[in-house]
Amino acid sequence: MLRCGCTGRGQATQIHILKGVRDMARKCMTVLLVLMLVVTMGSVAYAAPEFRIGTYLQLTGSNSVVGNSGRQGIDLAVKHINANGGFNGAIVVVTHYDTAGSTEEAVKVVQKMIANEAVDAVIGSINSNEVSAAIPYLNEAQIYNFGLGTSATWMQDTSRIWTFRASANNGRIAPQDVDLILKLGYKNVAIINGTDDTGKSTADAFEAACKEKGIAVTTRQQCDSEDTDFTGQILQILSTDPDCIFMSLIGTTFGPFVKQVRNMGYKGMIGCKECFSLEYQNVAGAENSNYVFYAYPYVGYTDIADCNIPIMSEYLKNFKAEFNELPAHEGAYRGWDTMMSMWEAAKIAGSNDKTALRDAMVKVKIAGLGGELDFTKGDREGYSQFYSFVLVDGSNYLIDDWLAAGGYDKYLKATGRNR
């Protein structure tokens, strides 16, 4: 192959040189490989540890706005936590899984996280049905987990020591709703509730609290979560002439119910198991949404200037900066509060070991977006006290302020009612 008219000695010299070049190339390659290996090993050795969180949220399908809001709240909190040292130096990595609003899918996703994903913690759905179905598996696998739903039922089992909640428990809100009714001077109330877990369990707790506090329940009506027409239920309610009505409904039923009850002539106060969100107001119509009252940790805002709670105002500013919008649903507050509670537990534990984190939860006491998140009672729940609001002309007023400002007299005058 070396045909250049050279002598035999010259050929030997050239072959020798070529061999030398090959040897040199081999050595260089070896050194390069060793260097690459060292660099890779070094980077592995010095990579920051991770704290892996898996979530199961309804991210698609009807009502997925609540799941997506929860995801935004979690993502914003994770960004904040990682920028401030993570969980004891570990970077928090979150993987979101979509349940599409299906309980079966929630269980599948959780089983996958337990079996294949080696997650350190799990945050559960805003849909309590999904949480109820998933947490037995998480507790069996001893996974440190939080639920975002508000139903009372899934926290009743005291053996589920790996599950916590940093959002409201409707079962605890219900007695405060009854206190509101007493504050307004009412003697009786009619109830309408959905047949879903949250709707029914909240109505149960509300009815029990009414009994305990001497408020008569004139009638209790139920509806399906997919119902659109409530004529029969409303007529039964109105036939008992209640002082006020309490709604323990879900999602798409709030707006049409309020609209229909107002159209059928009821102008009185309506209690709500949760904050009567902008979405509900949109469907019910602004004029129909007046005089809806509720006890809840937080309310929705269309303008940051409307918020006079410093911690919430700060949160809304950060949320707007991150997502260029304000939260579409209060699920965004629940997601943030949950991550902040977990972060505090990590700080207290000084370790990311799951048992240490679980045990540290009982010492967590921080300022949440809806008031004090106090887990020191040992019941694995954060919120115990809630604000009381009344919705008038699209604004949420603290009910004590509203009453003090003569709001109730204005209500009587505006509606022509005597109570």
Binding site: T60, S64, C223, D224, V283
Partner: protein
């Protein structure tokens, strides 16, 4: 209380009837069963929202354009999906499955633009509620009932008094003979699907101001409409309206005099009862045996 229940039962029954009308029309004209009607209500509600709220068109223009878009969608579904499957000589169950698949696509598609938040459909009439026979209701609810009745009569006249309507019925009864008589059966079947979709979309647009617009708006109503069609006699237009009306009244009276918890139980128990005792429905339509 009775008058309230009666009027409101008729209003919701009118909506069920309108949906049932679409089911029956498709069956009558093409011998096929479609499960997409309920979701075309959703489609109509979103189209109406787009024309009326987003583009700011008048209610009449919005209604017309919504009908036109749904009509076009119905033809596209028939020509682009159903006809293709029929040409492959598939079993009828595959047509049913195809319509179920389309219904899920329609449920999900609006999310791309509107998301999953319930959208507010602005009030159509200046007066939010009116009182008829001592019963106060949202104006749109009464409008919905009136439109349901008008559409039923318009459809009856179209099907029985016009050449095209007669051709459509002929094509449904015996396509081969109809074609031999010079009837374009392909066109008539396409128009039937278009009409059914158009009717459902009008219902959807009228429901928007009452319930808000969301992706599952038509799903439950569609099931009720189907039940109404079976009760009345699947494939019979008058039966569809009557069946829908009966269903609406039964569930409203059940909720009013007994409990809202059991209104669906009673409504669907009646459907089962009809299937067992009189599967041909009130109007004795020989349809069930063909499915």
């Amino acid at each position: 209380m009775f008058s309230y229940l009666l009027v409101n039962g008729m209003i919701i029954g009118g909506i069920y009837g309108l949906i049932a009308l679409g089911y029956s029309l498709i069956y009558r004209a093409s011998g096929l069963m479609s499960f997409v009607q309920g979701d075309i209500i959703t489609f109509g509600a979103y189209m109406g929202l787009t024309f009326y709220k987003v583009l700011g068109l008048s209610i009449y223009a919005s209604l017309f354009l919504t009908f036109a878009c749904a009509f076009a969608l119905g033809i596209v579904l028939e020509k682009g999906v159903i006809r293709v499957l029929l040409n492959k000589n598939v079993m009828p169950i595959y047509i049913v499955l195809a319509t179920i698949a389309i219904s899920f696509i329609i449920q999900n598609a609006p999310q791309a633009y509107y998301g999953t938040v319930t959208q507010r459909f602005p009030q159509v009439f200046s007066k939010s509620s009116i009182t008829v026979f001592g019963v106060t209701n949202q104006t749109e609810a009464y409008a919905c009932f009136v439109v349901s009745v008008v559409l039923m009569f318009a459809l009856h006249i179209f099907m029985t008094k016009t050449k095209f309507g007669t051709a459509m019925r002929a094509a449904a009864m015996d396509p081969l003979a109809a074609e031999a008589c010079g009837i374009n059966t392909s066109l008539s079947t396409g128009v039937t699907w278009g009409l059914s979709a158009g009717i459902a979309s009008v219902a959807g647009m009228l429901l928007g101001p009452m319930y808000g617009v969301y992706t599952m708006l038509g799903a439950t109503l569609g099931r009720k409409g189907f039940a109404g069609a079976v009760i009345g006699g699947y494939g019979n237009m008058y039966g569809a309206m009557l069946g829908g009306m009966i269903l609406g009244l039964v569930e409203t009276f059940t909720a009013g005099y007994w409990s809202g918890t059991y209104k669906n139980f009673i409504a669907y128990a009646i459907l089962l009862l009809f299937l067992f005792i009189k599967p041909t429905g009130i109007f004795n339509e020989q349809a069930i045996q063909d499915v």
